[in-house]
Amino acid sequence: MIPELGHFALWLALAVGLVQAIVPTVGYARRNLRWMSIAGAASQVQFLLVVVSYLCLSEAFRQNDFSVAYVAANSHSALPLIYRLSAVWGAHEGSLLLWLLMLSGWAFAVSIFNRRLPADISSLVLAALGAVSVGFLLFMLLTSNPFDRAFPIPLEGRDLNPLLQDPGLIIHPPMLYMGYVGFSVAFAFAIAALVTGRMDSAWARWARPWTTTAWLFLTMGITLGSWWAYNELGWGGWWFWDPVENASFMPWLVGTALIHSLAVTEKRGLLQSWTLLLSIVAFSLSLLGTFLVRSGVLVSVHAFATDPARGVFILAFLGVVVGGGLLLYAIRAPKLVRQGEMQLASREGLLLFNNVFLVVTAAMVLFGTLFPLLMDALDLGKYSVGPPYFNRMFFLLMAPLAVLVGFAGVVSWKRANLVESFKPLRLLALVAVVLGIALPFVTQGQGSVAASAGAVLAVWVLVTSVQEVWRRVRAKPSLAAGLRSVPRGAWGMTLAHIGLGVWTMGVAFASTFNVEKDVRLGSGQSADIGRYEFRFDGVTHVEGPNFKSDTGHVVVSYRGREIATLNPEKRLYPSQGSVMTEAAVDHNPLRDLYVAMGEPIDKNDANGDWALRLYYKPMMRLVWFGGVLMFFGGILAATDRRYRLAQRASASIPDGAAAA
């Protein structure tokens, strides 16, 4: 009964979505304010219906209702409750429901927070979101219904993929989806701007907090994903340039370009059509990511054919959304009027180059990901494009961007003198070069060109970001007054840029000075990495709720003094017959010590010698800490008070278009 209720709620949500998409649009065409105002109520009702549906699926998981095929495929009665609830998004159908929940949640938020926007903009934004939701609802209901019943009813479920039974995986997908789906709001704003022809600073001010919010969730989602892979996959890596990862990174890169071009549009009324294009592209890449991950096309071009209904549907949906968006753009964008001049020597001029590098990097990742598929499809041979390619290209394309970041604060809008602007930075540049080159020697006792190059860039970004705030503060009579005078948006920018510097530092060190050792150890034996000694004290057998574990005991000493006991695990999940590695990590800001269990040398003797993998990774934490700083920077920027004022200001204006 409960699954049927959830299923029914989805059909109702589809009906409401159709109303939400069509009625306000017709209302706009006919200048009928009442029809337009239906959008808000419709999006709220739709959100409610999707929440009901989502709760129904969660309840089916809670009850272990294996008569629901999706539950039977992804749960097990021994699975702990928290993982049963997160198993809702453990596979295809449920992830779509989560996607939809996020989408309708964003629309709900828009309908609440943007009540005061001009009626034509706010209703068209909601109509566009409604149209996207219709596509997703149809996709679910026609090809991927999570509420389908199974007959005969299995006695036991097939269990959640053990890879996903990890705390990181409880929050990672919702964060990531919040980000992906959040770009639908930027997309919807772009559609509304194109339809109404209203594309000015005020528009950018409305769209900006939404875009920043989507971006900060995506940032956190990617960071959490990386942290999860590091702990759970047992290979000591934190980014594999896997197509699935790339699918989330491309919208991030374009989204980052977008939040910068929105700044130009808001402050200077320039780059409007480019900003619109980026809004459309960012969401298109989110959809493409969903397509790549969900259609099976990544495994092989031929896997696409195993479930053609789904693949064809997403492809068609992608065509309608992206094609429709771009068509509207092609027709309407040329009509947008440029409001001013743009100088190379100005903040907007430099931001233009920021956009060039970010967008080309996104294109590089896209092309590198699709290259093997293209070559295979064209019968030109089988190729692999992996980390060695992406790492090198990424560094070459991103290094100039890191240099540019240093100028973010000192170069003024409109017109600046680049030579004059650079003067206060000369000392900082010197500091960056000296400190950056010295750091590897000082902290690691050895040199490396790659690490020094990265460290120079990192220090440059860090010191110039701090200097930017300091410059603003110093302009005021007292420190307190100075600190208060810095707008929250500027704090946000500075914090995010500091996050970039921290991240760069982490990557430079963790990837160049990473030491990795495969060792064979019996109980009581030890192996060294530098001054760290890892003593293996054998394994104990532990029974988990739905797994059996061989838990290793490794005592780590530094210069003879014990500093940590690590307990890496090798787990067997009998319900799927799969073996999982749970790495154990001892960390501080300067280094991670990481131990992963390989296999017993004699497969039948868990008490004999084991193969172990040991890692020393300097400054590993900085990689994720940088992501966290960017996340908080995003929060500060998105909650700047001028966005709330922008709404109030617009609310006091008679509604030109709607009243006419």
């Binding site: 005020a202 992996g386 390619y389 495969d518 390989g598």
Partner: protein, 151 residues
Amino acid sequence: MRTLILAALLFVFAGGAFALTPQEGALDPEQEARYRTLIHELRCLVCQNQTIADSNADLAADLRREVHTHIAAGATDDEVRRYVTDRYGEFVLYKPPMTARTAVLWIGPFLLVALGVLIALRMLRRPRAVATPAPTADTERLRRLLDEEER
């Protein structure tokens, strides 16, 4: 055909070494570093999408041992790469070599940067008669209100 080869390989290597088994025989530090770099560049052919360094599969362990043996015997990186591509094709290389077919992969991004920079410079230089639309009453008022909040 490829599957057949893979199946044959698997059969030959079946019962081979255990995954992650530490390699026997010593490499000097420079060789060790090259060995590490190389195993992170080679694809495990029976895995979803993993390097042989990251894979637990038997085939990956065997390939690691092959690389190890070759390096210990004094092979250069290129010789090792040639050895594996002769056997498994270019698919095994995560860093495709620069050839006519892959040129676009290596050069394309830089061409795009050049193009982007050219377009940006054109946008910045282009002198244009700025057609500012006559501000309507609302946009004017809105702008005033917004500007007031600019501190």
